[in-house]
């Protein structure tokens, strides 16, 4: 069996790449994609942790996998809302560049 720490390193690396993408990208759509990467890093971490841990009694602990399914579902709803809002913003401003969304600051 592959040791748990490999999965955790992969997950941490993906999460940090996603976080970098959120900060470095200027297009709102790409920022949402980077956030999806962060969520999937979490999923890898959860599933690996769940499958490497002995459950109570004779059962395997499925909680980690169940959270992952919930995260995938809610993330889909989140992307739907995000795309709707970004589309609306594009119609208003003809841009999805977050640097140009600066009507309000300080």
């Amino acid at each position: 069996m592959v040791p748990l720490v490999y999965f955790q390193l992969l997950s941490a690396a993906l999460f940090i790449i996603g976080l970098y993408g959120v900060m470095a990208r200027r297009s709102a759509v790409l920022i949402i994609m980077s956030i999806e990467l962060m969520l999937n890093a979490v999923n890898i971490n959860l599933i690996a942790a769940a499958s490497h841990r002995e459950g109570w009694g004779s059962f395997v602990n499925f909680d980690g996998q169940i959270i992952a399914i919930f995260i995938i579902t809610v993330a889909a709803a989140e992307v739907g809302l995000a795309m709707a809002i970004i589309l609306r913003m594009y119609r208003n401003r003809a841009t999805v560049n977050v640097d140009e969304i600066d009507l309000m600051k300080w």
Binding site: A28, I35, M38, N45, A49, D63, G64, L81, M89, M104
Partner: protein, 531 residues
């Protein structure tokens, strides 16, 4: 799932059902005035069910219980129907009712999607009620998203650039913080092997800890830090506070009113539950972490608020500062566990910190709703939310000017208002648990906050009506404001202002009953009994 399980989550279910019902009713009827009436009358259902649950807890129908959820129920680890959750149910239902009442005139100005406005508000309220009772990580995550996503949609509700910008910023920051929360949850789950808060506490007891490290291990330290950053987003506290002023300025004002009180209150409920139930032994570590966040939040919020010229943006920074004050109470409670003398006073003192947090949340809800309802009504009259345009408000609309002044005085924390009592309780709790420096900082910050609150009162009462009125405002604050100036008085909004103002004063004059309710609510948290 038995019928009793359905009964346990019936307040949340009826609230969500009501939201969907209002959206469907919008399709069926042309008389849009019925929508708000249906939403308001419908709120009686979750309220009645919460009352029934409370009656059962206090033993009117049989033995008094701590928790209605039986161990055999499939909801047992994930939902705890106790007095703590019910306290927040009442708070959320009251706030939702007042906000709907105050937004009737506002929503009439929208050309379409009126049903969706009320529907999303109610769906978000159902998420908040779920969050207050959730005791398991999956439920907490789903409830957090159910609370936030409708609010994001509402923030972007108006068809103008400002509202869209508020929506985009709210959405991106909420998505990032939910990713951070989840990574924290994943680490805590990996370390303890459980997703329920009580299971986490049990798992922590078995795990081997490194004594010289906060929280006993790196995985848990990082997990707790990430979880705290994620919850701070909902608290509108530092370090996740950057969305607050933008959303407060751009989003529709009734939405901001709801967001600023209900969403913040249940997030504090969640924080109390996590700290007490999942980490009963780790009071000192949480105390340091939360005290630092409290100090930075109130200082940043108050200092930046001084320079603001838009009243809604000013309230955005003011709410960050208030999140700081309330965090003082949470930090104080965390230290009562293993404080200076170990035994933590005993006899009522253990509940002092968390019950003062609950009382502050209720008092803040009343005062902040008064302020925002007055801002809605004034916005409808003058079509602007720049503070300079509020000049001479006492002559143009004496009732609203006095109500807003009352709310501002309450927010400073001057008697006879609820927040005065709440601040005394919170700072006393801080001093009793050895956080004297934090209490002193809190008092200094209250004095700083008086400056910008009184500035608004001075403009309203002493300055003349600005030349040209609203026309001067259009250049800066948007010609796309839905609150076009009207001369027709908004009776329902005024009624909401009056009710909220009454609650603000009543909580200051007779805080006893609510304080008792808060005390009995926090005893439902399993960790409180341990301390």
């Amino acid at each position: 799932m038995s019928l009793h399980d359905l009964y346990l989550i019936s307040p949340q279910l009826t609230m969500a059902g009501l939201g969907i019902l209002v959206i469907l009713l919008d399709l069926a009827t042309d008389r849009k005035g019925w929508l708000a009436a249906a939403a308001l009358l419908g709120l009686a259902a979750p309220l009645a069910l919460t009352l029934v649950q409370l009656a059962q807890l206090t033993g009117i129908y049989g033995p008094a219980l701590d928790n209605l959820t039986p161990a055999s129920s499939i909801l047992a680890p994930s939902l705890s129907v106790d007095r703590f959750g019910l306290f927040f149910n009442f708070l959320v239902i009251t706030a939702a009712a007042l906000v709907i009442l105050a937004s009737v005139d506002y929503v009439k100005g929208l050309t379409r999607l009126q049903g969706e406005f009320y529907g999303l508000l109610l769906l978000s309220a159902s998420g908040m009620m779920l969050l207050a009772s959730a005791t398991e990580l999956i439920t907490i995550y789903v409830a957090l998203e159910l609370t936030t996503l409708p609010l994001v949609a509402l923030a972007a509700f108006l068809m103008n650039a400002r509202s869209g910008e508020a929506g985009v910023k709210f959405l991106i920051i909420s998505a990032i913080s939910s990713a951070l929360t989840l990574y924290g949850m994943a680490l805590i789950f990996g370390f303890t092997g459980s997703t329920s808060l009580e299971g986490i506490a049990a798992g922590l007891g078995q795990a081997t800890a490194q004594p010289n490290l906060p929280f006993g291990s790196y995985a848990l330290l990082v997990g707790v830090a990430l979880l705290t950053v994620g919850i701070a987003f909902k608290l509108s506290a530092v370090p996740s506070h950057m969305w607050v002023p933008d959303v407060y300025e751009g989003a529709p004002t009734p939405v901001v009113a709801f967001l600023s009180v209900a969403s913040k209150a249940v997030a504090f409920g969640l924080l109390l539950r996590i700290v007490y139930t999942a980490f009963p032994e780790m009071g000192p570590e949480w105390g340091i972490l939360l005290a630092a966040l409290a100090a930075v939040s109130m200082t940043v919020g108050n200092l930046v608020a001084i320079t603001q010229s838009n009243i809604r943006r000013l309230f955005g920074y003011s709410t960050i500062a208030h999140a700081g004050y309330i965090l003082v109470g949470v930090a104080a409670m965390s230290q009562t566990g293993a404080g200076e003398n170990g035994v933590a006073g005993g006899g009522g003192f253990a509940t002092f910190g968390p019950s003062s947090v609950l009382f502050y949340l209720a008092a803040y809800t009343a005062a902040n709703l008064t302020a925002f309802f007055a801002i809605i009504a004034i916005g409808q009259r003058i079509g602007s939310d720049r503070i300079d345009d509020y000049g001479g408000m006492v002559r143009r609309s004496p009732f609203l000017a006095v109500a807003l002044a009352l709310a501002l005085i309450a927010l400073i924390g001057v008697p006879p208002t609820g927040i005065f009592v709440a601040k005394i309780y919170i700072f006393t709790a801080a001093v009793k648990s050895g956080l004297v420096w934090l209490a002193v900082l809190g008092v200094i910050n209250s004095v700083i906050s008086a400056y910008y609150y009184v500035k608004i009162i001075r403009v309203m009462f002493l300055q003349p009506i600005p030349e040209g009125g609203a026309e001067t405002a259009t250049g800066e604050s948007g010609d796309e404001q839905p609150e076009a100036p009207t001369d027709q008085p908004s009776k329902l909004t005024n009624l909401a202002v009056a009710l909220a103002a009454l609650a603000t004063v009543l909580l200051g004059l007779a805080p006893g009953p609510l304080l008792q309710a808060a005390e009995s609510a926090v005893t439902a948290l399993s960790g409180v009994a341990l301390r």
